[in-house]
């Protein structure tokens, strides 16, 4: 496989291709909209669905090659492409991958077709705009994972924001405008500070290197900042990513955005967009400002926020009447684990954080798809409206049970591997935080099982629940790969762990090595 890939020089063109394809797709859908303006809405809707799905499938198949072509052990960037973009400002189009980014890129490209399938029948109004938005969103998300130039990263970060705002705002539920605006303003404020920090770094780079320069590697190796500025810049970056993760005090946009977003919207939001926040910490906040990250005050502050987020998210999830909000708050809790894993700074906890990243993406993505499916049938998200539907929709009930168990973190599923590694790893450096975080294991079981019981078990008391149809082949075909991934990562996570191990280890050693000595020699650059 690797021979075939290297023969077609896969690494040279894959990353720009992955970014370009959805853009072309969006244009294609635009063209389709214009060409078939006169046709009946029903026909156009069916055609544009298939067109969009085709683009996403090609993107997914194209990206599969990354699994073999990216060698995680190599210290340099893989599939590096470096083109001048805006020479006057020293902004270059540099994209590249390492183990961590490759896993997240694959998570994105493989989840998008499933998300499109998930909203196959539920999105009927203005489908062209909807699918075009999804494609542009993919460009933004992929761009954020692969870009190695700060300005390019910021541009991609913003590209990811606008389509999601439209998706929530146009195709969302009742309070969609409030949710969309809240989501947009929340993230904007965070990212504006980041822009300021990027510009500062750019100016520092130009002072050091002569011409203005935003390249990630250059800044990483040559820009030396005094501790206070490092703290401030770290704060700016951290705030932008903390809003996105979301970490504890900045999370209130998530439940609203999730409840109001259409199925595919909330699947993508939960499975991929939240990971842009954690990825931001791993790629930018930690390596660029290791002293700030290692500064005990900052570190304990972030860890306290993460642990509070874990316990708070779980507790509040327990009392949610709306199932989608419950899953949203559970995401806050799961991503609290990721942040704890990152800032515990041991190889096990970092690996654990990356596994929780992927595992949460799959489990919560599947949960949102399931909620979407039952919502399409019963048009209500309130847990109380359901009850005893296991007899009426056995397949749905079985899959929902499996996915909930993976979200609780029962061993043998992906949730357990991630949470176990995070807790084991972070116990070594942050024992108290790890123990408190471990209590979330109990709350997770409490809130999800309680919700599960009120939905599929108990007596079938409400007549309208009896008429629900079970999942159709499309929906089963959509969920089977997710359940398979849950079981595969749970039982045999070795391949996934091997992909991210070298990058995680290098990051941890780089950040730890930076304590004390400010001038970092050019040689051991972090990848």
């Amino acid at each position: 496989m690797t021979a075939f890939l290297s023969s077609i020089n896969y690494n040279a063109w894959i990353v720009p291709a992955l970014l370009l394809l959805p853009a072309i797709g969006a244009l294609g859908i635009g063209a389709h909209a214009l060409l078939t303006a006169k046709d009946p809405a029903e026909k156009r809707w069916r055609e544009v669905r298939i067109l969009a799905f085709a683009f996403f499938m090609v993107e997914a198949l194209l990206s599969l090659g990354l699994w073999w072509s990216i060698d995680p052990a190599a210290s340099g960037w893989q599939a590096l492409v470096d083109l001048p973009w805006i020479p006057q400002w020293g902004v270059r189009f540099t994209v590249g991958l390492d183990g961590i980014a490759m896993v997240l890129v694959l998570l994105t490209t493989l989840l998008m077709p499933l998300a499109v399938l998930g909203s196959w029948t539920s999105i009927r109004t203005k489908p062209h705009a909807y699918y075009a938005n999804l494609l542009v969103l993919t460009v933004g998300m992929l761009g954020a994972f692969v870009s190695l130039d700060l300005v390019l990263f910021y541009v991609m970060w913003e590209i990811g924001l606008v389509p999601m705002y439209l998706i929530i705002g146009i195709w969302g539920g009742e309070r969609r405008l409030y949710a969309a605006i809240k989501f947009f303003v929340y993230t904007m404020i965070g990212s504006l500070l980041m822009l300021v920090a990027i510009l500062y770094l750019g100016s520092e780079a130009s002072r050091v290197g002569g011409a203005p320069n935003f390249s990630y590697d250059f800044i990483l190796n040559n820009v030396r900042l005094d501790p206070t500025t490092t703290l401030w810049l770290f704060g700016a970056f951290a705030l932008a990513f903390a809003v996105k993760v979301p970490m504890f005090p900045f999370h209130t946009w998530l439940p609203d955005a999730h409840v109001e977003a259409p199925t595919a919207g909330s699947v993508i939001l939960a499975a991929i967009m939240l990971k842009m926040g954690t990825f931001g910490f791993i790629r930018f906040a930690l390596p660029l400002f290791p002293e700030a990250a290692m500064n005990p005050a900052v570190r304990t502050f972030v860890i306290v926020l993460a642990v509070v987020g874990i316990v708070y998210g779980a507790l509040v999830a327990m009392v949610q009447p709306d199932f989608k909000k419950l899953v949203a708050y559970s995401s806050v809790s799961h991503l609290g684990f990721v942040m704890l894993g990152i800032f515990a700074l041991t190889t096990e906890s970092m690996q654990g954080a990356l596994v929780v990243n992927v595992a949460h993406g799959i489990s919560t993505g599947a949960l949102f798809l399931l909620v979407g499916m039952i919502y399409e049938r019963r048009h209500t998200r309130m847990i109380e409206d359901y009850g005893g539907i296991a007899k009426v929709v056995p397949i749905f009930a079985t899959i929902l049970t499996i996915v909930s168990l993976s979200s609780i973190g029962v061993p043998g599923t992906n949730g357990f591997i991630g949470e176990f590694l995070v807790l084991v790893g972070s116990f070594k450096t942050q024992p108290v935080a790890a123990v408190i975080a471990a209590t979330a294991v109990i709350f997770a079981a409490a809130y999800l099982l309680w919700a599960l019981q009120r939905i599929i078990y108990n007596s079938l008391s409400k007549p309208e629940n009896e008429g629900i149809k079970d999942l159709n082949w499309r929906e089963i075909g959509l969920l089977v790969p997710l359940v398979a991934a849950i079981i595969w990562i749970g039982v045999y996570p070795k391949p996934l762990l091997e992909k991210t191990e070298p990058a995680a280890r290098r990051l941890v050693t780089y950040v730890e090595a930076s304590v004390g000595k400010t001038p970092v020699t050019a040689s051991n650059t972090a990848r």
Binding site: T121, S122, K182, Y186, H251, T252, W253, Y312, L315, V316, M318, V319, Q320, T346, T347, E348, M373, E376, R377, A390, K391, V392, V393, I395, V410, P411, F416, I417, F420, L423, V424, G425, F427, K428, V435, A438, V441, I442, A445, L449, Q453, Y457, N458, S459, E464, N465, E466, K469, D470, L471, N472, W473, E475, Y492, P493, K494, L497, E498, E501, R505
Partner: protein, 735 residues
């Protein structure tokens, strides 16, 4: 799942034998689960229309009576409807696959057992299956650890499991969710084998939580009843609290000992300081895990509610196998426990307390399964006393014998309930088929079950020559022997010197033995003796359960009767091989047991031993006699018109209101706090209200203030103009 990474330890003698196929042991029940699961799904599923939302109307009552995934009942255990019950269309295949898989597993297990007996093993046989979590310096492999201890457990699990599976065929055959039932049962045995054979603590934890999951699924098997679903959820969450303890113990091990492999931890534990903080912490957290799983105080409340599941489930999970996982864990981690006398004292103390506490509640329960449930909690307390004081062999011995007679008791009560159901169904009576007050005088109708139940009762009461006598007496003797001249005696628990703690433990042990005898006899009297209270119409329908159910009972009866033969004490050397189990488990736990008794094996002078055995026998006989003399089964009245108990009896009947206490003290406050304080108060109130919407309000307020200036009067504009001029002028002059 098997891939070339599987390495055979060529050097180990067992590698040549059939033991090589030990990985097949868990695989068989997994296969059973997959087949039965598939059958359940096939039978149940009906694929929905392509476009789910169009034509959404509920046409009548779904797929008719006897819905696939559970069924409408009037009460929980009502099976047969009027006339011949519509059995599940795959019932035949499932009845073959389900138990068949277990029989195969048992045969393989016995083959491995005999292979292991024939071979001299210095160190356990470790078989690496595949590399599970290669992360940093936590290089975790999925390994199987085969040594006498795990072999004993495997034999118990597969042996008793097989019998219970066969019994279930009869008991659950008419249940519409039959394939689903066997799928879960097989999955349970798979996880139990993983737990027992796991080579590293995380793999053991996989089994540990897996069995918790299966007990959740099986307790809530008839989930259409809210009570059952609640019981299942409660079991899982309370187990999770225990698992939290287990997790923290694992973190401590990894942080302090650097490894999570069972053997690795065992030999690293040796160089830990004796009674040091690390060893005690690990041991205590492990024990927290055990209290969750093996239902000790304070986390025992889920076991009595778990009786909501089908009776064979109660027999398998909540009597013989899962609940003993805690005892196995303490025995397996004996390396760590022996280094922490304080922890050992805690285990013994909690065990004794639970034994006593549960026994008192058992006295006044009316539901036959609740009596047995509290008896299990009490007997588990005994086992923990055994392993707690370092007499691991005695603990495991009692575990084995308890598995035999408690499974027999549960299955016996199962066939009684089955018979009562048949009778109630025949006459459409909706009375409680499990309440002893509706039974009485069944010995005429069910003679075989009657005799076998008596054997089990005598065994559990501790009457000599029955299995219970040997194992229970050995534990009490072990406790007594360690009251002086052992690490425990020197240590002290919460200020109380070790030896006094052990004396109290011994005392509690005796009292609970007495009470065990009383409540077991009470159960026998109310169920089998005295007049029949089921009612004239039902009486003719009361009959012995079919052979497929009573067969396993007979086998268990034999085991319960002669189980003591496994580990005959020296005193009664005449009967059989002295200390069979002792030698068998010696390589695994011997060394750690010796550490607790300061080098030389705990010994009692011949005379004290005789005295101890005498008192034990006296206690047992007195208990039975007291029950026979005091309790008048004739005076009993059927449940529906039985007077409400008051005073002590009411307190005991309502299990000291512990459940209600927990609910009020922990559950409700957390829910209330998280709803009003955290969610509405903080999330919606502070963050959303204050910051998010607050800042929006602020912007609007500034806008409003600005608009106030536009009054329309030229005067105001002139003033504003002037103020501007003045400020600039001022700035200019006083610059």
């Amino acid at each position: 799942m098997m891939n070339p990474a599987m390495t055979f330890e060529g050097a180990h003698p067992l590698a040549a034998t059939i033991a090589r196929l030990v990985w097949l042991l868990p695989l068989l029940p997994l296969l059973g689960f997959l087949i039965n699961g598939a059958l359940a799904m096939l039978g149940a599923a009906k694929i929905g229309p392509a476009d789910p939302s169009e034509g959404h109307h509920s046409e009548g009552h779904g797929n008719g009576h006897g819905g696939v995934h559970g069924h409408e009942h009037d009460d929980a255990h009502d099976h047969a409807d009027h006339g011949h019950p519509p059995r599940h269309k795959f019932a035949g295949i499932v009845s073959l696959v389900g138990p068949g898989v277990l029989v195969a597993a048992f045969l393989l297990a016995s083959a491995i057992f005999f292979a292991m007996r024939g071979v001299e093993m210095e160190h356990p046989y470790v078989l690496t299956l595949f590399s599970w979590m290669p992360v940093g310096d936590l290089n975790l492999n999925a390994t199987i650890l085969l040594d006498p201890l795990s072999m004993t457990m495997v034999m118990v699990v597969t042996g008793v499991g097989m019998l219970i599976h066969i019994f279930s065929v009869g008991y659950m055959q008419d249940d519409p969710g039959y394939p689903r039932y066997f799928a879960y049962l097989n999955l349970f045995v798979f996880f139990m084998l993983i737990l027992v054979l796991g080579g590293s603590y995380p793999l053991l934890f996989v089994g540990w939580e897996g069995v918790g999951l299966c007990s959740y699924l099986l307790i809530g098997f008839w989930f259409s009843e809210k009570a059952n679903a609640d019981a299942g959820k409660k079991a899982f969450i309370v187990n999770r609290i225990g698992d939290f303890g287990f997790l923290v113990a694992m973190f401590l091990m990894f942080a302090n000992l650097g490894t999570l492999d069972i053997l690795g931890v065992a030999d690293k534990a040796k160089d830990l300081p004796m009674g040091g903080a690390v060893a005690t912490a690990i041991a205590l957290f492990l024990f927290l895990g055990c209290t969750g799983k093996s239902a000790q105080i304070p986390l025992y409340t889920w076991l009595p509610d778990a009786m909501a599941g089908p009776t064979p489930v109660s027999a398998l999970i909540h009597a013989a196998t899962m609940v003993t996982a805690g005892v196995y864990l303490v025995a397996r981690a004996s390396g760590v426990f022996s280094m922490a006398p304080v922890a050992q004292l805690t285990v013994a103390a909690v065990g004794a307390l639970t034994a006593f506490f549960a026994a008192t509640i058992g006295l006044k329960q009316w539901d036959i399964k609740k009596v047995l449930a509290y008896s299990t909690v009490s007997q588990l307390g005994y086992m923990f006393v055994g392993v707690g004081v370092g007499a691991y062999v005695a603990g495991i011995f009692h575990l084995a014998t308890h598995a035999f007679f408690k499974a027999l008791l549960f299955l016996g009560s199962g066939s009684v309930i089955y018979a009562m159901h048949k009778a109630y169904h025949a006459t459409h009576n909706h009375d409680d088929a499990q309440d002893m007050r509706n039974m009485g005088g069944l010995r005429h109708h069910m003679p075989i079950t009657f005799c076998l139940m008596w054997i089990a009762t005598l065994a559990i009461a501790g009457i000599p020559l029955f299995s219970g006598f040997f194992s229970k007496d050995e534990i009490l003797a072990a406790v007594f022997a360690r009251t002086h001249g052992s690490t425990l005696a020197e240590a002290s628990l919460l200020g109380i010197p070790g030896s006094t703690v052990l004396f109290i433990v011994y005392g509690l042990g005796l009292v609970s033995a007495l009470m065990t005898a009383i409540y077991m006899t009470r159960m026998m009297l109310y169920t089998f003796h005295g007049p029949n209270r089921t009612g004239e119409a039902e009486r003719p329908h009361l009959a012995e359960a079919p052979w497929v159910m009573t067969g396993p009972l007979v086998v268990l009866g034999i085991l319960a009767a002669f189980g003591g033969w496994l580990n005959v004490p020296a005193l009664l050397g005449a009967i059989g091989p002295v200390g069979g189990l002792e030698h068998w488990l010696e390589p695994v736990v011997g060394e750690n047991a010796l550490r607790t008794t300061l080098g030389e094996a705990a010994h009692l002078s011949h005379s004290t031993e005789l005295v101890l055995v005498g008192t034990a026998i006296a206690i047992a006989v007195a208990g039975i006699a007291f029950a026979v003399w005091r309790l008048k089964p004739a005076a009993l009245v059927a449940k529906k018109d039985a007077p409400a108990a008051e005073g002590i009896a009411r307190v005991l009947e309502n299990k000291y209101f512990v459940d209600e206490g927990y609910d009020a003290a922990i559950v409700q406050p957390t829910v209330a706090v998280s709803r009003n304080v955290l969610w509405k108060g903080f999330d919606a109130g502070v963050i959303d209200g204050l910051f998010v919407n607050g800042s929006a309000l602020l912007a609007r307020a500034f806008g409003w203030m600005g608009s106030q200036l536009q009054t329309g009067h030229l005067g105001t504009y002139a003033w504003v103009l002037l103020i501007g001029v003045l400020t600039i002028l001022g700035a200019f002059t006083y610059r």
